[in-house]
């Protein structure tokens, strides 16, 4: 491959992302370039188009083609109690502090199909905090949000969930939290009573106020550093003084603009506490 061909591909990708942004308002221009390129190439290979340039007119004139593309850009991979030790540490180090507030507000950003939301709801319930908590669960992928709202999952995935739940310090029988019908399991209805699901785009929308905990795991890995800083700015503004931020296990504030506003609470679980600002 020559230098020119490389440049051409970079231009094609820029133009495609620009077209998506100006036509539909979804801004992927500041996503991690390596990840988004991979997804575009993968989509290209299934699209019947010969080049990335050929995708552009299709995206501009065909809404359903765009919907297919955007599905590749927001793959909601998640599971219940992913990284069980994180939930254990939340129980030990964060819950006791949350308990000191009369009402607890939690922003779960990038909640995907909801598995983590139900995990958090179960944890709060067991710690006696659920009835005075509100969880704002957001994602920009509306299909994923619909699944999150429904709270129905393939029964075979509940096996892993049960194992993770037990490792996370779960105290009951996990089967109390869902109703199985053949090969599907519906999460217990009361687990969504305190949850507000809504569509929110971290690249373009604004803050949710007065949060005590922001939970945003494995979402910002898809952003470049500029967009990470934007999202982290939103979280910082949203949090009350002394509020907590929980990131994915391989995410850090070290390279970010808000590093000085936070103190590390737990290195392994990637939990920070807001100590700077107002």
């Amino acid at each position: 491959m020559t230098n020119t061909q490389d440049n051409v591909e970079a231009i094609e990708i820029d133009l495609l992302l620009e077209a998506v942004y100006r036509r539909y308002g979804y801004d992927f221009r500041s996503y991690s370039r390596a990840s988004i390129e991979r997804r575009i190439r993968h989509f290209l290979s299934t699209s019947g188009c010969g080049s990335i340039s050929d995708l552009i007119p299709r995206v501009l004139y065909d809404d359903s083609f765009f919907s297919r593309l955007v599905r590749y850009f927001s793959i909601p991979v998640t599971e219940m109690f992913r990284d069980p030790q994180v939930f254990q540490i939340l129980r030990e180090k964060v819950i006791p502090v949350l308990r000191t507030w009369p009402h607890v507000k939690i922003w779960h950003a990038g909640c995907a199909t909801g598995e983590e939301v139900y995990s958090l709801a179960i944890l709060l319930r067991e710690e006696g905090l659920y009835d005075r908590a509100t969880i704002y669960a957001t994602d920009f992928n509306d299909e994923a949000l619909d699944q999150a709202r429904a709270g129905i999952y393939p029964a075979e995935r509940l096996k892993d969930a049960t194992r993770n739940y037990q490792k996370s310090g779960g105290r009951r029988s996990f089967s109390e939290y869902y109703h199985a019908h053949y090969d599907a399991a519906a999460m217990e209805a009361s687990l969504k009573e305190r949850v507000v699901f809504s569509s929110h785009n971290l690249a373009s929308d604004s803050v949710f106020g007065d949060m005590h905990l922001v939970f945003c795991r494995n979402v910002m890995i898809y952003f470049n550093r500029d967009l990470q800083n934007r999202a982290l700015g939103l979280f910082t503004e949203s949090l009350v003084h002394g509020g907590f931020l929980c990131l994915g296990t391989k995410e850090t504030l070290k390279f970010s603009a808000v590093f000085r506003m936070f103190e590390e609470v737990d290195e392994k679980a990637r939990i920070y506490k807001k100590t700077g600002g107002s």
């Binding site: 991979v77 890995i221 470049n224 990470q228 391989k250």
Partner: protein, 211 residues
């Protein structure tokens, strides 16, 4: 104007070694890495198929046996020369043309996350001719597509000799692509990587997309 942060380092990067292995990987990696000098001038990024609950144990053990520092990177960490980066369990590890790490939880590729193909392909697209790709012992065909891509973008490709590999399936599958430049023993791989880094002048910078 300052370059965007994701692109600061990459243009200056002389080259990048990417490695993939699966079953038998620990022993193979120990041997290859011990063939490198402590002042090795290139970064090394590697995918070893790991157990989900590894929690950095593999990287920790490898660090004890390696002359170079070995860590699992954080997302957006800058890649430094002479440092070995091990893909964390349950994440794909990619590299940005600016010389930073990008992690991803996208679906498994060849039933694996991390996947060797994902690392190799991203390295090939970001660094073209400056990539050296190495496939070693393993019982999967992950990495073969990556070897093809590295080769098609002008990089250099190495496979461990299937005749001496502990698990020959993976290097054999790489060799079968017809895109492997040289087939070597583990000892030979260490020597080759050291030699190539010494002659790094032969990697012209012109392949970097963002200059």
């Amino acid at each position: 104007m300052n370059p965007p942060p994701d692109r600061v380092n990459g243009a200056a990067m002389a080259g990048l070694v990417v490695m993939g292995c699966s079953a038998g990987g620990f022993r193979a990696l120990t041997e290859v890495l011990s063939g490198l000098p402590a002042d090795y001038p290139l970064p090394v990024m590697l995918v070893q198929h790991l157990h989900l609950n590894d929690e950095g144990l593999f990287a920790g053990h490898l660090a004890l046996e390696s002359p170079l520092p070995v860590t699992e990177p954080f997302d957006k960490e800058e890649i430094r020369p002479g440092h070995v980066y091990v893909a964390p369990a349950d994440y794909h590890m990619l590299v940005e043309s600016g010389g930073t790490v990008a992690l991803s939880t996208d679906g498994k590729v060849h039933w694996s996350r991390p996947s060797i193909d994902v690392l190799f392909e991203s390295a090939a697209y970001a660094f073209g001719r400056r990539v050296i790709g190495v496939i070693m012992t393993g019982a999967s065909d992950d990495g073969s597509q990556g070897i093809r891509t590295i080769r098609s973008r002008g990089g250099f490709t190495i496979a461990e000799d299937p005749a001496t590999a502990e698990f020959p399936f993976m290097p054999r599958s790489a060799v079968a692509t017809g895109c492997v430049d040289t087939i070597l023993t583990l000892e030979g791989i260490g020597k080759k990587l050291a030699d190539m880094a010494r002659n790094i002048i032969s990697f012209p910078d012109e392949t970097c997309r963002y200059e």
